[in-house]
Symmetry: C2
Amino acid sequence: MKAYNIAVVGPLGVVGGKLIEILVERNFPINKIKLLGTSRNKNKKIKFHGQTLLTEVAEEGAFIDVDIAFFCIDSNVSKHLAPIAIKEGAVVIDNSSAWRLDDKVPLVIPEVNPEDLHSHNQLISNPNCSTIQMLVPLKPIHDIFKIKRIVVSTYQSVSGTGKKGMEELNNQLLDYYFNTPMTNSVYPHQILFNVLPHIDDFLENGYTKEEMKMVNETKKILDKDIEVTATAVRIPVLNGHSESVNIETEKPISPEEVKAILGKAKGVKLVDDIKSNLYPMPIQVEGKDEVFVGRIRKDMSIDNGINMWIVADNLRKGAALNSVQIAETLIERDIL
Amino acid sequence: MKAYNIAVVGPLGVVGGKLIEILVERNFPINKIKLLGTSRNKNKKIKFHGQTLLTEVAEEGAFIDVDIAFFCIDSNVSKHLAPIAIKEGAVVIDNSSAWRLDDKVPLVIPEVNPEDLHSHNQLISNPNCSTIQMLVPLKPIHDIFKIKRIVVSTYQSVSGTGKKGMEELNNQLLDYYFNTPMTNSVYPHQILFNVLPHIDDFLENGYTKEEMKMVNETKKILDKDIEVTATAVRIPVLNGHSESVNIETEKPISPEEVKAILGKAKGVKLVDDIKSNLYPMPIQVEGKDEVFVGRIRKDMSIDNGINMWIVADNLRKGAALNSVQIAETLIERDIL
């Protein structure tokens, strides 16, 4: 079996760290691996397959000889660095929002639109975490019943903001316990015991970027005719995003049909046994690859509607795992 | 000014406690007050207006001479006790779900349907907390634009389950901090750092009772032609319920019009300045009487749609305060 030269850009972040874990877990066919960070973070030690690797600097020349570069960095850095990596011959799989809506860049969830990978020009974008977990179960439903409209409200964990989000929640928990003044720097307000209807920046139309990502990315990945309206909300959960999803379909649809479809859908785990109080929850999806779906019921307010509850590990399927699965699909289809 | 003989049934619970606080705060015209609990909880001391009152037993004979009895107890107890109180001459304002859908019992939010109080037969029901805070701002919108459909997802605090819910969250926080095993008895699963799409019991149709309360109570209070579909969710917040509310109206509607209406609506506080990161949040509504509304924006997925974010102190406007306001309205309108 062929093995590849890999670069992980941003290996010290929470998504970069997960990505390295997942490469090991899945036995990704690696010949050489490079961990590339800022010059400030040069020569940091990171464990990989029992060895200790040292981080190098992500700069011109670093991507010569690299087959696949996983970018786990901010959009601004990605905008600067991706053209360099591409020029030096790497295929870039980017986790940021920098290239997602670029017409020339495929935006891919392997269970949903793997065929879009065939038109890649050495750059593939990983969708937003909230979009990924919503579309994995909606794709097989759309194939049969044709979804017309989605109304979604999210319940997003602080790990979506990276390590610093998790630290802020933990620090506020200590301040609460010791009755010391609570401070916040990552979020505009306290997050412990609070709810912020605010993720990413606000736009002129009153929506946040996070909300508009769910609208625009769904159109690009699944179907441009699907209308989406979203409310993205941060809650005091460490890891695991939840979503309350309401869909309206063109064809008549029943909870039983949806359960039958999702019971055998790729990448989906159906957890829907209300008699035993079983439904998807963040504490249950930690470290899991699947998107968990439950609370499937008929929306009695319209003719063809369904409500469901979708939960996934936002660091894995929402980011690192999906990137690795994109790379695996490129290899499988021999289109690297 | 006339003063009344009052009974508070369930004075040791979290809603009963709030109700006593609010009677004092609002200078409710009280002649005599009785605090009625179980025989097990007889002679407990409770402070009221500088005096110390002793609890008595809620039993036959206890309501003779009582003008208004505030019931802050479970539905099962209310079913048994309300007929006794009524027979003895009291007007009962009940916080439980026991009588809410009874055709002969008005279900009232004073800002929304005070006229329904005129047909009371000594029994008035206080709506569910999630319904109250949703309908206070939706009423003036419905009056002008006619709401056809509501899609709502809730973010409900543990105080909705009473003191025991708040204690369970606090205990789990200590267990997390000290790394001791986390236990749960109030909720079927851990609530700290978790999300439960499960409030009250599940019904045959796959919905919870809490979700169906929002559907049925909205029809009874506001308009039987409004279709509602709800997802009720418990999150790790101590107090203050939040709701992501999507409405579709018959007439064309704009965010500017909604803001103008809510800016002067009774019982509503508009907090919607995204440029300054201002929007309603649970930590902000604690102890407040108003229902807070923000994040008002056009739903671009349909012709006449609006998204909004609604937060209120569920113990006050969602329960105790609304009950006291019902009593005040009965007095104002001279229909006690």
